[in-house]
C-alpha cells in the first residue's frame, strides 16, 4: 500500500498535534500514543475516503475522536465515574505533560466535562475554527461555541481568576516580582 508522498507528509505533520489532543482526551501518554497509532492504522486503511484538498488534520482528528469515544463507551462499564477517573489519572502522572507549572491548570482542565474540554482544546489549542471543531465533534457550530464559553468560565472559576493578575504559580513569586519590578 504505497501512499502519495504528499499524503504521507500530511499525515506525519499531523501526528504531534494528534498526540497532544489524544493526551488531553485520555490523560495518559502511553494510552494516547496507542490511540494515535490505532488512528493512523484506521486512517491509512481508509485513505481513499479522504478527500484530497480537504483538511487532513481535521480528518485524522475526527477518526481519533470517534475511535476514542467508542473505546471509551466500552470501558465505561468498568469505570463508573469516568470524568473523576480521568482527573485522577492526570493527577497521578503530574510530570507526563512536562512542566510542573501547568499542574494546577491541568487539574482544572481535567475537571471539565469531557465535551467542554474537547471543544476548548480543539479551538483554543489545536487551532481549529469553530466550524472545523463542529465537524470533528459532529455537532452544531453553536454547540461548540457554547461549550468553549462554558469551559473558559469554568476554568476561570476553578483557577480562581478574575483578572490576568490572578494567574501565576504562587503568591510568593508574584510578591517577589511585584516588589522587584518597576
Amino acid at each position: 500500500m504505497a501512499m502519495d508522498d504528499s499524503v504521507r507528509k500530511a499525515v506525519l505533520s499531523a501526528v504531534p498535534s494528534l498526540r497532544a489532543f489524544a493526551i488531553s482526551l485520555c490523560g495518559n501518554v502511553d494510552r494516547a500514543d496507542d490511540l494515535v497509532q490505532e488512528t493512523l492504522l484506521r486512517a491509512l486503511a481508509n485513505i481513499e475516503s479522504f478527500q484530497p484538498g480537504t483538511n487532513m488534520s481535521a480528518w485524522l482528528f475526527t477518526i481519533l475522536r470517534n475511535h476514542f469515544r467508542s473505546e471509551y463507551r466500552k470501558r465505561r462499564r468498568e469505570v463508573e465515574d469516568s470524568d473523576g477517573h480521568h482527573a485522577e489519572s492526570l493527577k497521578s502522572q503530574p510530570d507526563q505533560y512536562g512542566h510542573v507549572e501547568f499542574r494546577e491548570f491541568r487539574e482544572a482542565l481535567a475537571q471539565l466535562p469531557s465535551d467542554q474540554r474537547e471543544a476548548l482544546i480543539l479551538v483554543g489549542a489545536s487551532g481549529f475554527s469553530y466550524e472545523e471543531a463542529a465537524g470533528i465533534c459532529g455537532c452544531a457550530v453553536g454547540t461548540i461555541k457554547s461549550r468553549v464559553n462554558r469551559a473558559r468560565t469554568r476554568l476561570a472559576e476553578l483557577l480562581h481568576v478574575n483578572s490576568a493578575e490572578d494567574f501565576g504559580p504562587d503568591e510568593t513569586t508574584r510578591a517577589v516580582l511585584a516588589s522587584g519590578g518597576e
Binding site: R19, H99, I121, G124, S163, E165
Partner: protein, 74 residues
C-alpha cells in the same frame, strides 16, 4: 527523537504584573485579559507535547505501511 524543546513562552508573571487591575467585577463574562491568559496556558501545555515532534514509532509505522520492502525509497 525524544528531545524536548523548552516552551518558548514569555514570562507569564511579567504580563500579569504589568497589566493593571482594570478587572471588571462582572461575574458572568470573562475579561479579555483572562481569556487571553487561559488561552496562553492552554496552548503552552498543548505545545509541550507538539514540540516533542513525531516519535520514532510513528515514523516507522508510516514507513512500514508505505511499503514494507521498499528500502531505498524510489
Amino acid at each position: 527523537m525524544n528531545e524536548r524543546k523548552p516552551v518558548g513562552q514569555q514570562n507569564p508573571m511579567e504580563a500579569a504584573v504589568t497589566r493593571n487591575k482594570k478587572s471588571n467585577s462582572k461575574p458572568a463574562k470573562l475579561g479579555r485579559d483572562v481569556q487571553a491568559r487561559l488561552g496562553q496556558q492552554l496552548r503552552a501545555m498543548y505545545d509541550e507535547v507538539v514540540n516533542q515532534g513525531v516519535p520514532d514509532r510513528f515514523n516507522e509505522l508510516i514507513n512500514r505501511l508505505n511499503g514494507d520492502d521498499k528500502k531505498d525509497g524510489h
